[in-house]
């Protein structure tokens, strides 16, 4: 356990080395909320099912911030692999499992830290949830962050060059961001699917997408018209378990092999 904490400390030191970069990222996210979302609020049609895009988008923004920051660990792991820093990591007095779990955990925790001002902004404008709801939001977001961190590490150790990692990251980013209910209600995607304008496989993907589940769960606690579903929590847990395990396995095996 102590070794895992050392890894978390190591990754947190790296994370805060780029504090101005983080400030820049947060300002970009806030520009999305205070400019784009405000303007979109004035463009909504009556059939959209949303009356205020600002309040609709605020939970989604917190989740996208969580995603972007939890994914950052992959870039570091990929860089370590390319610069062969992983030989040093493997020489540390800890087991391979502790090393791998430490990396996944720190990626997730960093995502939570980065996301907290965005979540607070969301609460300030939408209202605060009850304490049990708040704890459930934190727990679900933590599992989402763990899964994303795992996904990013899996991609990072499976790609040999930065270009391949960036290409894979772009594909994952765009599919998970835009095929989710972060920017628009899930009902619109389902409607397009029923009309045959959107492939049913993508509709299912949007429904089980952890970004959709986490955003809709926060909305169900803070906005009228959303009913909480336990399947969202289950879906997030499955996503998190799959990618935490695959990242741990991939990190241990592939890093040793190279």
């Amino acid at each position: 356990m102590k070794a895992i904490l050392y890894m978390v400390e190591h990754d947190f030191r790296n994370f805060f080395r780029y504090k101005w970069w983080l400030v820049g990222l947060i300002s970009m996210n806030l520009a999305d909320l205070f400019i784009m979302a405000l303007v979109y609020s004035h463009m909504l049609s009556s059939s959209a099912g949303i009356t205020n895009y600002f309040t609709f988008f605020a939970p989604g923004l917190a989740v996208t911030g969580l995603f972007a920051s939890a994914f950052m660990i992959g870039r570091e792991v990929n860089m370590e692999r390319r610069r062969e820093v992983h030989h040093y990591m493997l020489s540390l007095p800890m087991t391979r499992t502790e090393l791998a779990v430490g990396r996944v955990l720190s990626g997730g925790l960093r995502g939570m830290i980065y996301m907290s001002p965005l979540l607070l902004t969301c609460f300030i404008f939408l209202g605060f949830p009850t304490i049990p709801q708040f704890l459930l939001i934190l727990a679900v977001l933590f599992f989402v962050a763990l899964g994303i961190s795992g996904l990013s590490i899996t991609i990072a150790v499976s790609t040999s060059s930065l270009e391949k990692f960036i290409t894979a990251r772009g594909l994952v980013y765009y599919s998970l961001f835009f095929c989710s209910s972060v920017f628009y209600p899930l009902s619109l995607i389902e409607e397009l699917g029923r009309e045959g304008k959107f492939p049913s496989v993508l509709v299912t993907f949007a429904e089980i997408n952890p970004l959709s589940n986490a955003s809709d769960m926060i909305r169900s606690f803070l906005l009228p018209g959303y009913i909480f579903s336990q399947s969202w929590v289950l879906s997030v847990l499955v996503f998190s378990a799959i990618f935490t395990l695959s990242a741990t396995f991939a990190y241990m095996k592939i890093i040793e092999r190279t």
Binding site: Y18, W20, W21, V23, G24, L25, S27, M28, A31, D32, I35, M36, L38, V39, Y40, S41, H42, M43, L44, S45, S46, S47, A48, G49, I50, Y174, S175, F178, C179, F183, Y184, P185, L188, I189, E191, L192, K197, F198
Partner: protein, 223 residues
Amino acid sequence: MSQIAFFGLIASRMMSVPDYFHYYVGGLSVMTLWSAAVFIGFDIYEEAEHGVFEYLLSLPVSRRQLVLGRSIGGGLRAFIYVGPLIAVSMFVIGSVNPVAFIVSLLALFLFSFGVSGMSITIAVVIKSSDRFDIFMGVLDALVVRLSTAMYPLAIVQATNPVYAGITNFNPLTYAADLFRWGASIITLDNPLLPLLGIVAFFAFFTFVGMVLYEQRIEGGGWQ
């Protein structure tokens, strides 16, 4: 492409703006052109890091030719990169007025050169790739969101007059409006005005870029 397929298609369902899908597709091409043209600034840092800067300075070309060549090269490169997206956009949008479309493409060329010049100017002023990365990220967020790339000016005006004031003087607004005009998505009362805005943007950053480049790089000033 995924932004067109996902965001464009789905978001157009919830917007009251008529034919928002085409409007968004037009804006997305220009947004991508902006992002691609900005990349030349990162090359400046890479060249300084790998010692290519000294080689470039030793070439038998004047400093002015060097910076002008880089601006045009960066702009052309961005245009080639965005070419397939523009082709897909045109396929999605459909018929166009050929004369207006050629004028709008020329305007996009100038816009792309101007953005490259701006990126080079900022890169030689900032000197740190990390700070440049942050600055360009924030600038990108503000320039894209405070433009008509994603929404019409009238809606920005209705949201916040301050936002609209900035949007009115944004080169990305001029480029997006001209491209949509060329693609017959919107009509413009006077296309000459945004065209002049783009020419002014290009001229300013090419001139400032040349002056700053000359001043900053002599005697190892880029290090």
